[in-house]
């Protein structure tokens, strides 16, 4: 996966941030935008290029929630379980999605890599709780029934 083309991209990102160690988080953020996750060999490459320890870059990549060391599905569904959504019953929505896609809190990506389901602690649209996003597009006032319909529509698109 980590071929010359990608290496060039990573180099370009590092140079854009002036090879500055203090910009490490921005560098990893930009790299993740390219790959959608952080493959181990890429992290090691960045560490070696910036001359920082593998432990340190691993520490940072695992500390922040938005970094992922695992590959994610094509459609990322975020179910908000913030306070506002929680009191307006977000968990039944999550359970409906899990059931429909055959996932659970340990296995959150479908085998065909079409869906990844995550819970988040607030999407900032609390006035319209409960809220979910699919690839950052916000769906307000969700119900278990509506979410199943949404999933079916996405599936139809995917398998057309």
């Amino acid at each position: 996966m980590f071929n010359e083309v990608f290496k060039e991209k990573v180099n370009e990102i590092i140079t854009r941030h002036n090879s500055d160690k203090k910009k490490l988080i921005s560098i990893i953020q930009d790299v993740q935008k390219e790959y959608h996750y952080l493959p181990e060999e890429v992290l090691i490459y960045i560490a070696d290029t910036l001359d920082i320890s593998h432990a340190k870059i691993y520490g940072i990549a695992t500390f922040y929630e938005n970094f992922s060391l695992n590959q994610k599905g094509k459609n990322i569904i975020k179910v908000c379980d913030g306070t506002a959504c929680h009191v307006r019953k977000s968990i039944p929505i999550l359970n409906a999605i899990y059931k429909e896609l055959g996932l659970n809190d340990e296995k959150n990506t479908t085998d065909d890599m079409i869906f990844t389901v995550e819970t988040v602690s607030c999407l900032g649209a609390c006035g319209l709780a409960p809220v979910i996003t699919v690839n950052d597009y916000v769906y307000p006032k969700m119900t278990p029934e509506a979410v199943i319909e949404l999933l079916n529509n996405i599936k139809k698109e995917e398998f057309r």
Binding site: L24, Y64, T83, A84, L123, G124, G127, L128, Y139
Partner: protein, 625 residues
């Protein structure tokens, strides 16, 4: 074009105002996150194209002579529950729940003929509210900070300037000394809106008095509290106000660089801030020699990477420096050694937004709002089980009752009010019985009852909420978000969560309540940073005000709100059961018995609550209660 001093700014503002006045009618379509989710962008495009087709569209940049209609995307109008929202000036009509199909009528009837469309307006108790200002939700608020939110195109600096924007910056930079500004801010009594309520003027004076030549201003836009979106709405709806506050802060303390740390979940806030910064740079309101005052100031945006603890000051600066966002022991305090080891002003988004208002009107005028030790207004995110959810602003000292029942419109679906959770994971749950509802909201009053204003999230809960479950919910949040640096927080939150899980699953005992309280007290007193120190608040406040509910869970083994799975029972409704026997066949432990065509029954003592019977019943006669 460069604006070079106060007079220049005033004449520029007049010029912009003149050109804006050519828009004799204005349509403000809410493009806040809530309304966007409801499809407001498509509505914006449609209305714009309809007006364009009629040749009536006037863009403010054009020096067109004719008058016409202006169509704009604005920041959050606040009344999120009723979105997508559209405000139409000069009539000040507010249209709610607007759909794409309504656009033609809005254009032909309201914009051309000037007539209201009543079915899109706010109706309550058989009364029609035509203008936005009459609606009780708005009428009872005092919108100082949110003055522009929903009223201007947030991506257009000309609109901001035409409404008095950057005047405060010009006054400060052209006519005042650093120390003078610190004094005004101190006199105003402004306290930080990020949660702690530290006096802003005091903080600035401390930074000013440091003799390090390099200093920084940091704006905390992390807003990690679930249920809070005030800072987001300000950054999206009125970004220039925050920028102004930062420039003035830099000038008042001797800092030439500012950083805004925005959480990654807020891409639109980042985008609007970037646009605003570039526009301010172009007009010479940011950058070198601002307004010919000799003062230089630049602002950089940093995106967070998803760690709640990064909202804490020392963790936030560590994160900007490219490290793990872990709090450190203080002293040295941020005002002495903050970002890159230099003296740093660190304030919340809303705190900065207050600054231009104070400079413009003076501290005495500002102090007219609020209470003696808590001046000004506060923006709250009102959410949960309340009729009018949204973004509200009230003077400090307003009571919870006014907020929840007058502005919020009370509890929906004829349910009873149970509690209100204030201040997110650091806050507490307040309730009806203890006269909490008549408590004037302020930093000091909330602290006295074990809650906190925090960032201003206010989640209303009705009778169907289980307070033990709520405590568990917050503990699971803080447990997950603990950075793990200190043992009381890392281990304590984990143990508290385990105990709460034990209780909600029906296995708790009286001793567990005792232990829970002990751990909570220990963590509160020994954790390193605010996250750990306040993590126990939801537990302690529910233990204090809802002890009965805990007792019901551990002694009677029931969950009064019927939320906790482990404490529910599964029963068959004899009126709905047709006696098909499907449930009995599916039960793995033979807990169901009966005779065909008669209602079946479940033996509570045998049932393991697996739920299998619920699924198979074709008549939906089996329920968990």
């Amino acid at each position: 074009m460069i604006i070079s001093n106060y007079n220049d700014l005033v004449s520029t503002a007049n010029k912009y105002k003149e050109s804006l006045d050519k828009q004799t009618k204005k349509v403000l379509i809410c493009a806040g996150t809530g309304c966007l989710a409801g499809g407001s962008l498509a509505i914006y495009e449609k209305i714009k194209s309809l007006i364009k087709k009629r040749g009536l569209l006037v863009e403010i940049d054009l020096t067109k002579e004719d008058e016409g209609i202006g169509v704009k995307k604005s920041g959050c109008h606040g009344f999120c529950e009723a979105g997508p929202l559209i405000r139409i000036e000069p009539y000040n009509y507010l249209y709610l729940h607007v759909k794409l199909e309504d656009c033609e009528e809005i254009v032909s009837k309201t914009l051309i003929e000037g007539k209201p469309i009543e079915r899109l307006m706010y109706f309550n108790n058989e009364k029609l509210y035509k203008t936005q200002e009459e609606i009780p939700f708005y009428k009872r608020q005092t919108r100082l900070i949110l003055h522009n939110c929903g009223h201007i195109d947030a991506e257009n600096i000309q609109e901001y300037i035409s409404r008095g924007g950057y005047k405060a910056t010009a006054i400060a930079l052209n006519t005042m000394k650093s120390k003078e500004i610190c004094t005004i801010i101190t006199d105003s009594g402004l306290r930080g809106r990020g949660g702690g309520g530290y006096f802003t003027g005091k903080k600035w004076s401390q930074v000013l008095s440091q003799d390090n030549p390099v200093k920084y201003v940091v704006c905390n836009g992390d807003e990690g509290d679930p249920g809070a979106f005030m800072d987001r709405s300000i950054m999206e709806g009125d970004p220039h106000k925050v920028i102004e506050g930062m420039i003035i802060s830099g000038y008042a303390t001797g800092a030439n660089n500012g950083y805004i740390y925005v959480r990654a979940e807020y891409p639109m806030a980042v985008n609007r801030l970037k646009i605003a910064i570039n526009q301010a740079l172009e007009l010479g309101l940011l950058g070198n020699n601002i307004l010919d005052s000799g003062f230089n100031f630049n602002i950089h945006i940093i995106q967070g990477a998803g760690a709640f603890v990064c909202g804490e000051g020392s963790a936030l600066t560590a994160s900007i420096e490219g490290e793990r966002g872990m709090p450190r022991v203080k002293p040295p305090r941020t005002v002495e050694k903050g970002l890159f080891e230099c003296p740093t002003v660190l304030n919340n988004v809303e705190t900065f937004a207050n600054v231009p208002i104070i400079i413009l009107n003076g501290s005495d005028e500002y102090k007219k709002y609020g209470t003696s030790n808590n001046s000004g207004t506060k923006v709250f995110a009102l959410t949960g089980n309340v009729v009018n959810t949204g973004l509200i602003e009230v003077p400090m000292g307003t009571t919870l009752r006014e907020v929840i029942f007058d502005i919020g419109g009370g509890i929906p679906n004829n349910k009873k009010f149970k509690a209100v959770q204030i201040g997110g994971p650091s806050g507490g749950c307040l309730t009806f019985d203890k006269n909490h509802l008549d408590l004037p909201l302020s930093f000091d009053s909330l602290k006295s009852v074990g809650a906190m204003i925090g960032s201003g999230g206010m989640v209303v809960m009705d009778e169907d909420t289980c307070m033990v479950e709520v405590a568990r919910f917050f503990m699971s949040f803080t447990q997950r978000e603990s950075c793990g640096k200190c043992i009381p927080c890392r281990e304590g939150t984990k143990r508290m969560l385990e105990i709460l899980e034990k209780i909600t699953s029906g296995n708790g005992s009286l001793e567990d309540l005792q232990l829970l309280k002990e751990i909570a007290d220990t963590v509160k007193n020994t954790a390193l940073c605010g996250l750990g120190k306040t993590a126990a608040n939801p537990v302690l406040s529910t233990l204090e005000y809802f002890y009965d509910e805990y007792l019901a869970h551990v002694k009677d083994k029931i969950c009064p709100a019927k939320i906790c799975k482990g404490l529910s029972t599964i029963t068959i409704d004899p009126n709905m059961c047709k006696g098909c026997s499907k449930c009995a066949k599916s039960c793995p432990v033979e807990a169901i018995s009966g005779t065909i065509k008669n209602p079946y029954v479940i033996d509570k003592n045998k049932c393991i609550k697996c739920g299998a019977c619920i699924e198979v019943c074709p008549f939906k006669a089996i329920k968990e209660v």
